[in-house]
Amino acid sequence: MVGISAVRVQGLWKRFGQQIAVAGIDLELPAGKFIGLVGPNGAGKTTTLSMVTGLLRPDQGTVEVVGHDVWRDPVQVKARIGVLPEGLRLFERLSGRELLGYTGRLRGLPGAEVDKRATQLLDVLDLAGAQHKLVVDYSTGMRKKIGLAAALLHNPEVLFLDEPFEGVDPVSAQTIRGVLERYTASGATVVFSSHVMELVESLCDWVAVMAAGRIRAHGSLAEVRGDAPSLQRAFLELVGANGRDTVSDLDWLGGGAR
């Protein structure tokens, strides 16, 4: 679909008491790209993703996903997106397989199709051995993987992942990565948040940098990186944390005398 962006955000605001979490975001995310939303902890990434996916009501502003308004047209939007939120539970007293069966059927897919897709996803994500274990007994990496499987089950057009690699071991991370790369190669869009710049740099072709509730920069990886040697450097410059030198005070640290 040429011309329609995956996500279009206009004038998005959210305030929690005194704290302004998101301070007027305007953003247009291109379709068919692997998009990274980066920023330090507390930048408002989770709040933004929650509002974009319809899990949190914004104070102001509009959000459109593939051309449909998230709050006025939830039927169109919810069928087209997959979500893996951060800090929210799953139905953990179900086994991995039961969780996928439950999610797929709630999404309105026929039972046989759900079971077929669940088997394939469990295989690809290396969860087949643990499919009958309760999710409450899963490790962090396994939880992220079963959450990803649940988000992919209905083959969404846009996938939103909040910190999908946080606390995940390298093997699981590689598995998740492989699945996501295959998924975007087919023309779908992935939007994911992270504060690990190396990861974003190696995965994404489009980046939005957030700090203190605002978008500081956005565009293709090359545009955002500019002249800096790495995204990490460019990011530190953008959020104004570059060149802070606290090391000289700790002159006793290391060396011979204790």
Binding site: G54, K78, L90, F91, R93, L106, G108, Q131, H132, K133
Partner: protein, 529 residues
């Protein structure tokens, strides 16, 4: 390290206590209130025990009291593995500490708190109740300290021995059921006290004859022996107490050493535990298709697998049965009491989304309109009815059978069904309008700061349910009072059942659009646990 660590650990415990209280005003108020109540209770016990001084069988009573208290100390760590961080060996694992001084320091720290103070009051009262003569008083002074140390060491040894269980998921699930244990324990104590009240303290003597040799009761039993002049027996009883203390400390020290030198149990455990095959139980084949069957299946699974939901259901099922049946048994009941079962079980419809915790987002992502919300709520109500309908019927029939009042059965059933319908309707509506979080750990059922919301939800709902039922209640009263009412009493069954069904559908219809509109608000309300 040569510095003495006992004062350090005791100070740490005091700071943790102080900082815990500084966190919030509500917490401080709750702590002070519980301290005042506990101390008042302790003072009353003390007065009671002093008043019993000289009573014929008082020594049996105090031995039993001390033994029960000792039992309490032993099981407490299993059900309330609370946040006493000074006693958590995994926090100390990185420090260069030897087991012996550590055990001494932790034992001293364990003596700080309301629990030990309460125990001390009770033991002191016990000594006052039975001590006669200087030797007995001296034995009493030793006995109180010894008994207290045995209690504390017992709790610590049990906790250290079960640390793998307590830090695992199964242990945390067990802790959630602690409310049930307290409720059942209170019933047993109540029952025992009533028996004693009617039959006298002499009944206790045979039990006490055994318990007076079991630590920690033996330490207080020694006081009674010394009062009687049996100094040899007293010495032997004290020696039993000392031996128990030494043994418990040794067990504790051994487990502590092992805990601090072996890897954390949680990492080992993740590797093994072969997954049990959870094949389809055939449940899904009996349920309808689509959203309805899917949601019903998940709800019913949660009744069994989720400790919080399970505890709530067991409580409802037990109380719903006990109240009408026990009243009927004692001959004080009436068939109408059987409606209590329907009411208790209908409560499970309340705060449906709070029972989901923040996993509600998975539901919210699949509700895109009133129709979805209606299907979701209806399926949850149906899942409830699968258990509730047969159970309420069973309780009603059982109560009627015990009272032999068969002509009233159709009426009681009809009223039960009407009440159940009203509870489902109000439950669905309040679930959408006043959702609140249920903390997943511990025994609390409302997240801090949402108590008001929970009260509105439950009590407002109950009043509304009673009002909704009033036409059926009025009909029942009228049929009961009128001259040839008995001839038409059967009418209450179809009328009540039909009314209940209609009210349920109406409630779900009203709740559905509200649920669909308020999804983000519900999610944030239920995510605080």
């Amino acid at each position: 390290m040569s510095a003495e660590i006992t004062p350090v650990v005791v100070r740490l415990k005091l700071s943790l206590l102080r900082n815990g209280l500084r966190q919030s005003g509500g917490r401080r108020a709750a702590y002070i209130a519980s301290a005042v109540v506990t101390l008042l209770f302790a003072a009353l016990q003390l007065l009671g025990l002093i008043a019993l001084r000289g009573h014929a069988h008082v020594e049996s009573l105090i031995v039993l009291l001390v033994a029960v208290l000792g039992l309490g100390w032993a099981v407490m760590p299993l059900f309330f593995p609370s946040g006493d961080e000074t006693l958590d060996p995994t926090r100390l694992v990185m420090l260069p500490l030897r087991p012996r001084p550590l055990v001494r320091a932790l034992l001293a720290a364990s003596l700080v708190g309301i629990g030990p103070l309460f125990t001390l009051c009770l033991f002191a009262g016990s000594v006052i109740a039975v001590a006669h003569g200087a030797v007995a008083w001296a034995v009493g002074a030793v006995g109180v300290v010894l008994a207290l140390l045995v209690c504390v060491a017992l709790a610590r040894a049990v906790a250290a021995a079960n640390v793998a269980l307590l830090t695992s998921r199964k242990g945390r699930d067990l802790a959630v059921l602690s409310g049930l244990v307290v409720a059942v324990g209170a019933q047993l104590v109540n029952f025992g006290a009533q028996r004693l009240g009617s039959a006298g303290l002499a009944q206790l003597d045979p039990v006490a004859d055994v318990l007076r040799w079991v630590p920690p009761a033996s330490a207080i039993g020694a006081v009674d022996s010394a009062s009687d002049g049996s100094y040899g027996v007293a010495a032997a009883q004290l020696a039993t107490g000392v031996a128990a203390l030494v043994a418990l400390l040794a067990v504790w020290a051994r487990h502590l050493t092992r805990l601090m030198t072996s890897p954390d149990g949680s990492t080992l455990q993740a590797a093994e535990t072969a997954a049990r095959e959870r094949t389809s139980t055939g449940l899904s084949r009996l349920l309808p298709g689509g959203r309805t069957g899917t949601v019903m299946e998940r709800s019913l699974r949660y009744v069994w697998r989720d400790p919080k939901t399970k505890a709530a259901w067991v409580t409802s099922l037990a109380i719903g049965l006990i109240v009408p049946v026990f009243n009927a048994w004692q001959g004080t009941g009436s068939v109408w009491f059987a409606c209590f079962a329907a009411g208790m079980l209908g409560i499970q419809m309340y705060n449906q989304f709070g029972q989901d915790t923040s996993a509600f987002w998975m539901v919210a992502m699949t509700i895109s309109g009133t129709r979805d919300a209606y299907a979701e709520l209806r399926a949850r109500a149906l899942a409830l009815l699968v258990i509730t309908l047969p159970y309420a019927t069973l309780v009603t029939v059982l109560t009627t059978a015990m009272l032999g009042d068969w002509p009233k059965l159709p009426g009681a059933l009809g009223l039960s069904f009407a009440l159940l319908g009203a509870m489902l309707a109000t439950g669905a509506w309040t679930s959408a309008r006043f959702p609140y979080s249920i903390p997943q750990e511990g025994y609390k059922n409302v997240a801090p700061g949402q108590t008001g919301l929970a009260w509105i939800s439950i009590f407002g709902g109950l009043v509304a349910a009673a009002l909704l039922c009033s036409p059926v209640i009025a009909l029942a009263v009228w049929l009961n009072a009128s001259a040839d009412g008995d001839r038409w009493a059967w009418l209450l069954l179809p009328v009540g059942a039909g009314y209940g069904a209609a009210v349920t559908v109406l409630g779900l219809r009203l709740a559905a659009p509200r649920t669909a509109r308020r999804l983000p608000e519900i999610l944030s309300a239920v995510s605080k646990g």
